[in-house]
Amino acid sequence: MDEMANREKKTLWENLLSIDRRIIFIFIALAIALPLFFKTSLKMPVSPVVQEVYNAIESLPAGSKVLISFDFDPGSMPELQPMAESFFRHCFRKNLKVIIMGLWPQGPIQANIALDKIFRELKEEEKAVKVPRYGIDYVNLGFTAGNEVVIDRMGHDFQESYPADAKGTPLSKIPLMQGVKNYDNIDLILNLSAGYPGTQEWVQYGVDVFHVKLAAGNTAVQAPSMYPYVQTGQLTGVLGGMKGGAEYELALKRPAKAVSYMFSQAIAHVVICLFIIIGNIAFFTLRKKKTLKLEK
């Protein structure tokens, strides 16, 4: 009863200082869900770190070999899958040869999901671009346990980490893998990472030891820790979170999933900021009242 009486005594500012988290949850749910029903065209410049990744792929001549390491699971799919799709779109548009691998067990199947979508798109929309053929235009090496040791061994010989592709075909029998011994035969490495093992390990064991050219797509949480590597040139560029994915889609002039989700994320950010402002106004008002009381 006392607790109820206390609750009734609470002023408006006290209530605003301790808003029930369920109310915040409802506002966030609405802020995320409702914008998905609206089509908007919000202005968004492509940041230099994203443009660098785009340029790295764009500058490759047709037939160049690109290794994409899928180091994430479905938990990070909303952020990293749009990047994966954009990388495939870009590579196949440029007629690049794509080698897929994964340091996470779920990585190679995430690649298959992205490829499945891209192939359907190519069949429906861009009839001029031929659908890539397995083993000739792209290959999925699958997952190998061993984290950074896999990266290290591939620097000497791919076959030491991957004697066969995900379907069990020996690398020596795959046309795309002819002439690919180690990183010397790879023109660019793209890494989609949600944690360990991921971009940091690729920098430490791939870039620093074998001097490979590396660009990455990371979750928004992870991306800030990659900025030092971008500044030193160890990392060509980085796509950070859904925003990085959206900027890449814009650079590619092919707005897709990430761009459409950005409005939702923007509204959610605004709602969080509003709650922070309300919390601080209530905090200062109550503090002022307490000070005045003490002075009296």
Binding site: F25, P78, N112, G146, A166, M262
Partner: protein, 213 residues
Amino acid sequence: MRREVPLVLTAIVGITMIIAHFLPPLNSLKDLFEDWFFIIAAFAIILGILNLILVNGNNIYRKQKGWPFGVVVILGFLIMTIIGLGFSGGKSFQDPGTPFYYLYTNVYSPLSATMFALLAFFVASASYRAFRARNIEATMLLLAAFILMIGRVPIGYWFSDWLGDALGKTADWIMDFPQTAGQRAIMIGIALGVVSSALRVILGLERTYTSGE
């Protein structure tokens, strides 16, 4: 012997790996140790599976708190394994169209993404409670977070039009300089910590991994 053998093995492997980095003739030894690592890593997966079954099986057998979740875990594991190994085209089990792929995309993916998406709600609630301008440090953190949250989403650029893109440029500056400087300091600190921890393990000063002491 139970403690001495792991310590000696760790010391030999650790010292060899360090020396091999600078002495190429020792690379064959390094390769051998890495081969062993691959084998151990593969066995670790089997160990993980056995552990999953044992822990959850034990919970179910003893009817411990939350045991029905253990049933779901073991059923989920068995269904995915049996369908993946037996009914999904052998080594092509990850290809689109297989029953394994169907379960992965329609059950595992949404469940996993849902768990991650819940973070948005908790981050919002935690931001509201934590970002209070109680002192100078907290105010700086609050301002930086505020500028980044608004400055790095499209709606921020819309606001920025009125401010001559000041918000976006400030957000980029925070990311490029104070943030990167802080990250670099943390990275160097971690690297030094890793070196000292590795040396302690190699020299046998850190022995907790052998018996938990």
